[in-house]
C-alpha cells in the first residue's frame, strides 16, 4: 500500500475521532460542573424540560461557556497553524506577534483604573483595542518601502512589540494594589468564566467567517511552505496571502484574547499534534486544528471548573499541564523509528 493512500486513510480516521471527541467533550461540558445534575434530568433539560434551576445552569451558564470554549480554542489553534505556515517557523503560535501583549496591556490598564467592574464590556473592549494596536504596530514596521511584507521582520518586530507591552504591564502592576494585581494575573492566565450568550454571539460572528477565510488559504499556505518565490511561480498571490493570513489570524487571536484572556499552548500544541497525525497538508491541517483546538479548550475548561471545585483554576494552567506532556509524548513518538 502506498504511503499517500495510508496517509489519506489516516486523515479520515483521525478526522472522525477528532470530530467525535470534540462533540463528546462539548456534551460533557454541558453535563458536568460543580453542581451535579443526574443523567436523566440532564436529558430532560436537553429536550427543553427539567427544573428551572437546572435549565438555567445548563442553558445560561454552561452552554455559553462551552460554545465560547469551542470558538476560542478552535480560533487559537487555527491561528497558530496559519502563523506556523506564514512564518515558516514551527515555534510560531498566535501570540508570537505581540497580540497577547497588546491585549494584556489594555486589560491591565482597565483593571488598574478600576473600570472593569463598571460594565462587562470595558475589559474585552480594552483588550481587543490593545491587541489591535499591537497588530497595527507590527504590521507597520514589517511592511517595507516597496510594500512587501517581510515575514522575518514581522517575526522580529512582533517579539519586540510583545516585550515592550510586557514592560508596560510590569509598570502598571507595580503601581497597582494587591486585589488589582491578583485579577490582572488571573486574567492573563485566561478564563472562560465571563461567557454569556452575548459574548458567544460576538465571537461567533467574528470567528466563523474569519475561520472560513483562513481555510480558503490552505492551498496558498501549502505552497508558502516551500518558499515564497516558488509559491509565486505556482500561482499564489504571495503578498495578498501573507497580508490576509497575518491580518485575519491576528484578529481571530485578538477576539479570543478579548473574551477569554491569554490562553497559552493551544495555538502551539494543537497544530503540531494534528500535523504529526495527518501530515503537513493545510487542507486537512487547518480544519482539523480548529476542531481539535475547540475540543481541547472545552476539556481544559472542564478541568479548570472541576479539579478544585468550587475554586476555579486558570484555564491556562490546565492547557499547559495537560498539553505539554501530551505534546512531548507525541514528539517523542514521532522521533522514534
Amino acid at each position: 500500500m502506498t504511503e499517500s493512500g495510508g496517509r489519506r486513510r489516516r486523515t479520515v480516521l483521525v478526522s472522525g475521532l477528532v470530530v467525535a471527541g470534540t462533540l463528546g467533550v462539548a456534551l460533557l461540558g454541558l453535563a458536568l460542573g460543580s453542581v451535579a445534575i443526574p443523567a436523566g434530568e440532564f436529558l430532560e433539560v436537553l429536550r427543553g424540560r427539567g427544573s428551572d434551576m437546572h435549565r438555567l445552569l445548563v442553558l445560561e451558564l454552561r452552554a455559553p461557556r462551552v460554545l465560547l470554549g469551542l470558538l476560542v480554542g478552535g480560533g487559537l489553534a487555527l491561528a497558530g497553524a496559519v502563523f506556523q505556515a506564514l512564518l515558516r517557523n514551527p515555534l510560531a503560535e498566535p501570540y508570537i506577534l505581540g497580540v497577547s501583549g497588546g491585549a494584556a496591556a489594555g486589560a491591565v490598564t482597565v483593571l488598574s483604573l478600576g473600570l472593569a467592574a463598571a460594565t462587562s464590556w470595558h475589559l474585552p473592549a480594552a483588550a481587543f483595542a490593545g491587541a489591535l494596536v499591537a497588530i497595527g504596530l507590527v504590521f507597520g514596521v514589517a511592511i517595507s518601502a516597496d510594500r512587501r511584507l517581510d515575514v522575518r521582520v514581522l517575526l522580529l518586530s512582533g517579539v519586540v512589540v510583545g516585550a515592550f507591552f510586557s514592560a508596560f504591564i510590569a509598570l502598571v502592576i507595580s503601581v497597582s494594589d494587591a486585589p488589582t494585581v491578583r485579577s490582572a494575573v488571573l486574567w492573563m492566565m485566561g478564563s472562560l468564566s465571563g461567557a454569556t450568550w452575548a459574548t458567544v454571539g460576538i465571537t461567533a460572528a467574528y470567528t466563523i467567517p474569519a475561520g472560513l477565510l483562513l481555510l480558503a488559504l490552505a492551498r496558498p499556505l501549502n505552497l508558502m511552505a516551500i518558499g515564497e518565490e516558488t509559491a509565486g511561480y505556482l500561482g499564489t498571490e504571495v503578498e495578498q496571502t501573507k497580508r490576509l493570513a497575518y491580518g485575519v489570524a491576528s484578529l481571530v487571536a485578538a477576539a479570543g484574547v478579548a473574551f477569554a484572556g491569554v490562553i497559552g499552548f493551544v495555538g502551539l500544541i494543537i497544530p503540531h499534534s494534528v500535523r504529526l497525525l495527518v501530515g503537513p497538508d493545510h487542507r486537512a491541517l487547518l480544519p482539523l486544528s480548529f476542531v481539535a483546538g475547540a475540543g481541547f479548550l472545552v476539556l481544559a475548561d472542564l478541568g479548570a471548573r472541576m479539579a478544585l471545585a468550587p475554586t476555579e483554576i486558570p484555564i491556562g494552567v490546565i492547557t499547559a499541564f495537560v498539553g505539554v506532556p501530551f505534546f512531548l509524548l507525541l514528539l517523542r513518538r514521532s522521533l522514534s523509528p
Binding site: 502506498t2 504511503e3 499517500s4 496517509r7 505556515a85 515558516r88 517557523n89 514551527p90 518601502a145 516597496d146 490552505a218 492551498r219 501549502n222 505552497l223 511552505a225 516551500i226 518558499g227 518565490e229 516558488t230 509565486g232 511561480y233 505556482l234 500561482g235 499564489t236 498571490e237 500535523r275 501530515g279 503537513p280 497538508d281 487542507r283
Partner: protein, 258 residues
C-alpha cells in the same frame, strides 16, 4: 510559447548598478535556449524578470502573444513551469506531495485532484526517474534527487514553457544527461525551454541557441559556434580557455587551461 525580451534593464532597490542592462533575447516556441555567464552576471535576475517576480526598470517582456503584465499569477503558473535555483521545504512533505503542487494552478475551487492531475504527476515522476522516490520525505533526499523532483514538479504543471535555474547542479553525469535529454525532447515536443546553466559543453550539445551574459549585459548571442569562442569566453570569465570541436559530438568543447 514564444518568450521575447527587449532592451530589459532591471535594478534592485537601493543598488546603484543595474543587475541587467539592455538585455534582449527571442526564444522561439520549441527551442532549448541556454543562458550562460559567470556568477553574478544576472542569469537568475533574468529568470525572475521573465517570470514577473522582479520588476523591469525599462524594456519589455512578452510571453506568447501578450505582454508580461497582462498575465495573472495563476495563468502564468498554468503556462510556465519554473525551477528556481534554491528552495527550502519548511515542513516534512513527501516527494509525491511536492510534485503534486505543480497541479495546484490547474485545480478547481474545491481543490480535488482528478484523474488527469494524477496522471500528470505520475508521468512527471517517471520522466525524471523519481517514481521510486514518490513516498520519501523530501528532507531525506540527496541534492541530486531533490533537483530531479523539482524538475518533475515543473513538468507536472503541463507547461508551454519551462524556465530552469541550474537544474543540473549537483547531479551526477547520468542524471545530468537524463535531465538534458528530457529538456531536449520537451523542446522537440514544442515546449519552450529557457535553461540557465554553467555547463558550457552540454549547453553547446543540447541547446539550439545560447546567450552569454557578462556583468548584466549580453556578451554574445547565437549558435554554440558563434557564442563559445575562446576570445569571448576568456574576456567574460577572465580565464584562458581552449575551444575545440569535439569529434564525437561535433559541437564545441571548452577546456580551461591550467
Amino acid at each position: 510559447m514564444r518568450i521575447q525580451v527587449s532592451d530589459l534593464t532591471v535594478r534592485y532597490g537601493g543598488q546603484a548598478a543595474a543587475a541587467l542592462r539592455g538585455v534582449s533575447l527571442d526564444v522561439a516556441p520549441g527551442t532549448l535556449y541556454a543562458v550562460l555567464g559567470p556568477n553574478g552576471s544576472g542569469k537568475s535576475t533574468l529568470m525572475r524578470a521573465v517570470l514577473g517576480s522582479v520588476p523591469a526598470e525599462s524594456g519589455s517582456i512578452r510571453l506568447g502573444e501578450r505582454s508580461l503584465e497582462s498575465w495573472s499569477r495563476k495563468e502564468m503558473a498554468r503556462a510556465v513551469g519554473a525551477v528556481p535555483q534554491q528552495e527550502h521545504v519548511a515542513f516534512p512533505l513527501t516527494v509525491r506531495e511536492l510534485v503534486a503542487m505543480g497541479r495546484y494552478p490547474h485545480l478547481g475551487l474545491l481543490g480535488a485532484e482528478g484523474a488527469e492531475d494524477r496522471a500528470a504527476v505520475e508521468d512527471a515522476l517517471v520522466r525524471c526517474d523519481a517514481a521510486r522516490l514518490a513516498h520519501r520525505d523530501v528532507g531525506t533526499l540527496s541534492g541530486g534527487e531533490f533537483q530531479r523532483v523539482r524538475v518533475a514538479r515543473a513538468l507536472a504543471q503541463s507547461p508551454a514553457a519551462l524556465v530552469l535555474d541550474e537544474p543540473t547542479a549537483s547531479l551526477d553525469i547520468r542524471h545530468e544527461m537524463e535531465i538534458l535529454r528530457l529538456l531536449r525532447s520537451s523542446a522537440d515536443d514544442g515546449i519552450t525551454v529557457l535553461l540557465i546553466t554553467h555547463h558550457l559543453d552540454l549547453a553547446a550539445r543540447f541547446a539550439d541557441r545560447l546567450l552569454l551574459l557578462a556583468c548584466g549585459e549580453v556578451a554574445a548571442e547565437g549558435t554554440a559556434a558563434q557564442v563559445l569562442r575562446a576570445e569571448t569566453l576568456e574576456r567574460v570569465y577572465g580565464w584562458p580557455v581552449d575551444v575545440r570541436t569535439d569529434p564525437a559530438t561535433g559541437s564545441p568543447r571548452v577546456t580551461p587551461r591550467s
